[in-house]
């Protein structure tokens, strides 16, 4: 008699808590990164970070028939990006149309246990940027591109970003070490933009988002690279004079070294 009663109380409690903490009594998701800071030094040629975690369940967790789905989304600082298309004008190829996307991630890596569209509805996927096809690209207000043509720009933007390694999507890339332990390795290419990143991990089942976890990741220059960058941006005049002096000195030095007569 006590067991059904307790379940009823739990359900009641869940109902009350649903708005505030929907996953409070369901599965818990614990995730961590192999490093929360990536330093870019002069020998930087790209690196990998490992995202690992556990799906925490207890006796109260409702047993579900479907398998768990996981999605790991690594997104970089947002930026404004213009995609241009060349067209023929008086026999030559020039940039004619352009579409500007606002607040798009400068880097996006999506790792999932299976194809995103099998995991949940589009609304859920779009909200959490699960899958490149579900990435919302807000268009700047002043756009001359007709509605029917917009998808071409969208597709081209995603294609070019995938080409230079800044956008990645990998299905089946999350490895389960046990029933509840998982791990995936995200590659950060050499041209990875610096800034504050967010690593989000989502646990889904049967199309519903059960839990999510979020970790910050900082990608920053360090040492000489950081010093040079700050000098260039904060003391531009000094940096400019230094560059000129360095150039003249190098040229003069070469002239002296190679002096033959």
């Amino acid at each position: 008699m006590r067991r059904p009663l307790r379940q009823a109380i739990v359900l009641l409690g869940l109902g009350c808590l649903l708005a505030a903490a929907p996953a409070a009594r369901a599965e818990n998701l614990i995730a961590a990164l192999s490093a929360d800071r990536v330093n870019i030094e002069s020998n930087f040629t790209g690196t990998r970070i490992v995202v690992f975690g556990e799906i925490a369940r207890d006796a109260l967790t409702v047993a579900r028939p479907e398998p768990y789905d996981l999605a790991v989304v690594v997104s970089g600082p947002e930026q404004v990006v213009t995609t241009r298309r060349k067209g023929r004008f008086m026999g030559i190829w020039v940039n004619r149309d352009s579409e500007t996307f606002e607040r798009v991630p400068s880097f996006l890596a999506v790792h999932t246990t299976r194809a995103p569209h099998e995991m949940a509805s589009r609304t859920v996927l779009e909200r959490h940027r699960i899958g490149l096809r579900n990435l919302n690209l807000p268009i700047a207000i002043a756009s001359d591109v007709p509605i029917g043509d917009r998808d071409n720009f969208r597709q081209a933007f995603l294609r070019l970003r995938v080409q230079n390694g800044l956008y990645q999507e990998q299905t089946d890339s999350i490895e389960f070490l046990s029933d509840s332990l998982f791990r995936t390795s995200v590659s950060l290419p050499a041209n990875v933009p610096v800034g504050e990143y967010t690593v989000s991990t989502y646990l889904l089942r049967g199309g519903a988002l059960l839990a999510q976890a979020e970790q910050p990741l900082t990608i920053a220059k360090s040492g000489f690279e950081q010093f040079t960058y700050r000098l260039a941006y904060e003391y531009s005049a000094l940096y400019g004079l230094l560059a000129v002096a360095l150039a003249i000195f190098t040229g003069w030095l070469a002239g002296v070294i190679f002096r033959r007569d």
Binding site: W93, S98, A237, V244, G251, A254, G255, V256
Partner: protein, 310 residues
């Protein structure tokens, strides 16, 4: 060996940079040109952002022209007075050029203007030089005596007022065409992001009849000053001068320039002009081909300059 560039924010192969700097530096010393019109497209082609390429090339040009200037100075082959007058015009021309540069950028057609200008000027100047040098070589081969310098012969340029004596160049000409020439080249230089030596050299030779050996050193000195100013302006306004990239290019460049300058002494004037003409023409044709042929990828993506910075 890969090295990470702090401003361009990507790693590149250092030996590739040495190689590119060296090759362009060699041509720079050989012809008395800055080589910017060769190096900038090379860098952009190897994946470095265009803004960083343009700004950093100006720094590299400072080094390679400084190295060349030292070599020519020692041989007393620089006309300082002439370079000074050219620079006066250059400053005025650059100021107008920078103003137009901004205007075109707001109109969104800067890329097109740059490409078209490259095609027009490189083809026209390259073509003229090719024609002239071939004719001069043919005449020499047929046995006719060709004086590289004809002091008695004057063209319309020599009839202008405000004459000034340039002792080093053995010239007595009006300052108007000199300042005008400096102005036009300063203007084009700031629009195209180049020093303009490849236009300066033939103009000084054909229009003003400055002796060829003086022209190169004088042109290099003028480029040195213009590009030093450009480096400073780029560092101030766009922050896109990459000092690590510049240094790698310089080291290759200054060494190449020394060999180039030495080689230039051994070649005859018309041979030098023929080679420079072919070089200029081929870059012009390359740009023309790019404009006319349908590109493989019609789309391009560029992040706004005011992107999120830490």
């Amino acid at each position: 060996m890969q090295i990470y560039l702090p401003i361009a924010e990507l790693p590149v192969n250092m030996f590739m940079l040495f190689g590119m700097g060296g090759a362009v530096g060699f041509l720079s010393g050989l012809f008395g040109i800055g080589g910017g019109f060769l190096l900038t497209p090379l860098l952009i082609f190897s994946g470095i952002p265009p803004a960083v390429s343009v700004a950093t090339v100006t720094t590299q040009v400072v080094a390679s022209s400084a190295s060349g200037v030292v070599a020519y100075w020692r041989r007393k082959m620089i006309d300082f007075k002439l370079a000074g007058m050219l620079l006066v015009g250059g400053v005025i021309g650059s100021a107008i050029g920078v103003w137009l540069f901004d205007l075109l950028r707001t109109l969104g057609q800067l890329d097109l203007v740059i490409s078209l200008s490259y095609v027009t000027f490189l083809s026209a100047i390259g073509g003229l030089m090719l024609f002239e040098s071939l004719r001069s070589m043919a005449r020499r081969r047929s046995g006719a005596r060709v004086a590289a310098r004809q002091p008695g012969r004057h063209n319309w340029v020599h009839g202008l007022p405000f004459k000034m004596r340039f002792r080093q160049s053995r010239l007595y000409v009006s300052v108007i065409p000199i300042i005008f020439l400096g102005g036009v080249i300063g203007f084009l230089g700031s629009i195209l992001g180049i020093g303009g030596g490849f236009m300066m050299v033939p103009a000084l030779i054909y229009l003003l009849r400055v002796p060829t050996n003086i022209v190169i050193g004088t042109s290099l000195l003028q480029i040195l000053f213009t590009m030093a100013a450009a480096t400073f302006l780029h560092a101030m306004s766009t922050q896109s001068v990459d000092i690590v990239l510049a240094l790698a290019l310089m080291i290759g460049g200054v060494i190449g320039a020394q060999f180039g300058a030495r080689m230039g002494q051994k070649l005859r004037g018309d041979q030098l002009r023929l080679l420079l003409a072919l070089l200029v023409l081929s870059v012009g044709v390359r740009f023309a081909v790019n404009l006319v042929l349908q590109p493989d990828e019609l789309f391009s993506v560029s992040a706004a300059i005011a992107e999120v910075r830490r």
